[in-house]
């Protein structure tokens, strides 16, 4: 028993344990996702996060210690984002052919995402600080946090809302699009990418190349549009 607890003390302080936990949790959630015929509601990000959170709470581990191991996975988000240039390049003829429609759709989606989130939270009596925190939630995390800071919100809570929005959009987006009969992969990709940034893009890439490329494009342009426009619009209303 002593050996076991010594081993635990050693392992829980090394990055290996939390890195492995992240991978194993994700493998398990992916297995369930495949078993469930890739139903969007069985989103593997959500499943893996629930398992990790349960283990951290169960073992009394704080997030900072967990992140020491998990940062190696987290770090790859940057290179993965850069690599979205490849699907974008491969689909470039499609993008060029409907550039105006794409820009209009992303801009309108961007305004709808921020505007309706702020309106609903405001109607429910949320504080100005909370409104500023929720406004940039459809944008990829680093940009969303910077915008929240500029508007007077809580950047670290914004980061959480960004992830929740991402998972929500990846889960509900395909169901909503099916329901209203939008089958065009370009429109589906743009809708998921604008609403759910990288998490939506990751989901779109597993379904269809065109949808993946359009989602990646939407993620990048929505980040740019929100960063430029939201602070100006905010000044008009608050």
């Amino acid at each position: 028993m002593d050996n076991l607890s010594d081993t635990w003390v050693y392992l829980s302080a090394s990055p290996l344990f939390h890195l492995t936990l992240t991978l194993v949790a994700f493998q398990g959630a992916s297995w369930l996702f495949e078993k469930g015929k890739r139903h969007p509601l069985l989103n593997p990000v959500l499943g893996a996060v629930l398992v990790v959170v349960a283990v951290l709470l169960g073992t009394g581990t704080d997030y900072a210690s967990y992140f020491e191991g998990a940062q190696f996975v987290h770090f790859l988000l940057g290179p993965a984002t850069v690599s979205l240039a490849i699907p974008l390049y491969r689909q470039w003829h499609r993008v060029k052919a409907s550039a105006l429609a794409i820009l209009s759709a992303i801009l309108a989606g961007s305004l709808a995402a921020s505007g309706t989130a702020v309106a609903v939270a405001w109607a429910m009596g949320a504080s100005p600080e909370l409104l500023a925190t929720v406004a940039p939630k459809s944008v990829t995390a680093p940009v969303a946090m910077a915008i929240a800071e500029e508007l007077g919100g809580l950047p670290s809570l914004t980061a959480v809302l960004v992830i929740v929005t991402g998972v929500m959009g990846a889960m509900l987006g395909p169901l909503v699009l099916d329901l209203v009969g939008i089958k065009d992969w370009r429109a589906r990709g743009l809708a998921i990418g604008t609403t759910s940034h990288g998490i939506g893009t990751a989901r779109a890439l597993t379904v269809n190349d065109t949808a993946g490329a359009f989602a990646g494009l939407a993620m990048g342009l929505n980040a740019l549009a929100t960063a430029l426009l939201l602070p100006i619009l905010w000044g008009l209303f608050f």
């Binding site: 992240t22 994700f26 992916s30 990000v45 893996a48 996060v49 997030y63 992140f67 790859l76 988000l77 940057g78 290179p79 993965a80 984002t81 850069v82 690599s83 979205l84 240039a85 490849i86 699907p87 390049y89 499609r94 052919a97 105006l100 429609a101 209009s104 759709a105 992303i106 989606g109 709808a112 995402a113 309706t116 989130a117 609903v120 429910m124 949320a126 929720v134 459809s138 990829t140 940009v143 959480v160 992830i163 959009g169 509900l172 909503v176 699009l177 209203v180 065009d184 429109a187 589906r188 743009l190 809708a191 604008t194 759910s196 990288g198 893009t201 990751a202 890439l205 990646g216 980040a223």
Partner: protein, 115 residues
């Protein structure tokens, strides 16, 4: 394959340096994506090892959000306090943003053949 992984890292690094130096409102990796896209346009095709590296990264992309997602425990109490306004705001805006983006794309690209 390693040379193309290096290229991806170089694009990200340049992206971070340029956005940082000029104070641009986009993340370094997004500018890195634009730089790599420029390289592909200049080259005129995707070298197959680069396609393989990118494919591996993208197949694993969902996994990469798990560490940030677990950060939800840092704000459990704040989230619990504002569960209803936040939950409803996210739910309504997610569904509406999907619909608005999707329908506008369909309407404005109507009549254009896909491809």
């Amino acid at each position: 394959m390693l040379n193309y992984l290096t290229l991806i890292f170089v694009c990200q690094l340049l992206g971070e340096m340029i956005t940082g130096a000029l104070g641009l409102p986009i993340p370094g990796p997004v500018l890195g994506m634009v730089l790599l896209f420029g390289f592909l346009m200049w080259r005129g095709d995707v070298p197959s090892p680069l396609g393989e590296v990118a494919g591996s990264l993208q197949r694993a992309m969902s996994l990469l959000f798990v560490p940030a997602g677990a950060g939800v425990i840092l704000h459990a109490h704040l989230l619990a306090d504002a569960l209803l306004p936040l939950g409803l705001a996210l739910l309504v805006s997610t569904v509406l943003a999907v619909l608005v983006t999707g329908f506008i794309m369909i309407w404005l690209s109507k009549g254009q053949a896909d491809g």
